[in-house]
Amino acid sequence: MNAKEIIAQRVAQEMNDGDLVNLGIGLPTMVANYLPAGVRCFFQSENGIIGMQPLDGPGSALDALTDAGGSPTSVIPGAAAFDSVASFGFIRGGHLDVTVLGGMQVDEDGMLANWMIPGKMVPGMGGAMDLVAGAKRVIVAMTHTAKGAPKILKKCNLPLTAVRRISLIVTEMAVIEPTAEGLVLREISPEVTVDDVKAATEASLIVAPDIGVMKLAA
């Protein structure tokens, strides 16, 4: 398994049956492929649908049915479509159980930066700021480092996505929970040691007394 598959599989274990879930474009989208048996989630896409599921095949694509990246998608029976106003009503109103987003940086306060690099990349925040401000749980799914440099920092130096402590960080090396006391290292990958994780992390980590090993399929 590559890093992305490990992350997606571990994030999927955080889902509960019946959850309303928004998956960001890219890595987070892969989470839908790893849901534990018996767990059915309702996937929302912020462009206006609840009940998204992957396309059966290219033949069933419809111009008017796409995910938030503009790619064709399909729906489960019992899906519902609505406009952007209603879509963000769910998100901002606290109706979304979980959002899974990518991250550029997370810091010791659990703050997330994932939408711009000043002077370099200004794509716009899209729905990210509403998702981080409004979802019940915010899970950041990202590789532990970028080109060898830590992404989990003492303090974010990129512009924040929201002033809100996110719920969980899942990387290919570790599961880390931001708390009022700091970043708690909850699980490590079977491939690494606690010291490996610490070495790849700029922020201080509090090692949980009951630290476990990420359960991953072969």
Binding site: G48, G69, A81, D83, V85, V122, A162
Partner: protein
């Protein structure tokens, strides 16, 4: 009381320099014929309010390619490098707005509300220069209403009065935009006789639609 017009006549009433809301999300649900006609008629110096600018060569991306846009209010331009290029070159003034806030600001403009009180953006660069309001101990950003001179809408189906229906994720920003503009021009995939669309399935009500253009114009 039919509102059906030719494509060229519908777009002729839009002056250079106009402010225009355009429905769609990455081009899905955008009024593609109206956009093409804006370019054919050489409209320029436009202010566009839209979720995004799609990608080069498609939907609103074509207006960017044609350098028809001088000001843009959007939530995301990451998939259109040409927009980013013109922004960095100072050719387009871009205001980036969180997507949910953009939707609510348009809704506020169309429904007579004085603004939007949202937690989205509080404490971030989005809050710079904006008023915050405390309500029962929580802090909200005051985001101002958005309106435009024109809204260009894409509907799956219309009747001749201008009642509109949308399809799946091609709905997105079209319904709130139709409420928030002085003149609403809707491009419809199909135009049916009045009475065909049942009252419970009308999503944008005829009284706010000014002009209808058929897809096969």
């Amino acid at each position: 009381m039919s509102k059906v017009s030719s494509l060229s006549k519908a777009v002729e009433e839009i002056p250079d320099g106009a402010s225009i809301m355009i429905g769609g999300f990455m081009g899905v649900g955008s009024p593609l014929k109206l956009i093409d006609e804006l370019i054919r008629q050489g409209k320029h110096d436009l202010t566009i309010i839209a979720n995004d600018t799609a990608k080069p060569g498609f939907a609103i991306g074509k207006l960017i390619d044609a350098k028809a846009v001088s000001r843009l209010v959007a939530s995301h331009i990451g998939l259109n490098p040409e927009t980013q290029k013109q922004m960095i070159a100072g050719e387009i003034e871009v205001e980036l707005v969180p997507q949910g806030t953009l939707a609510e600001r348009i809704r506020a403009g169309g429904t007579g509300l004085g603004g939007v009180l949202t937690k989205t953006g509080v404490g971030t660069v989005v809050a710079e220069g904006k008023q915050t309001i405390d309500v029962d101990g929580d802090t909200y950003l005051l985001e101002k209403p958005l309106i435009a001179q024109f809204a260009l809408i894409y509907a799956w189906r219309a009747d001749h009065f201008g009642n509109l229906q949308y399809e799946l994720t091609a709905r997105n920003f079209n319904p709130p935009m139709a409420m928030a503009a002085g003149t609403v021009i809707a491009e419809a995939g199909e135009i049916v006789p009045v009475g065909v669309i049942p009252p419970d399935q009308v999503e944008t009500v005829s009284v706010i639609v000014d002009t209808l253009v058929g897809r096969e114009d």
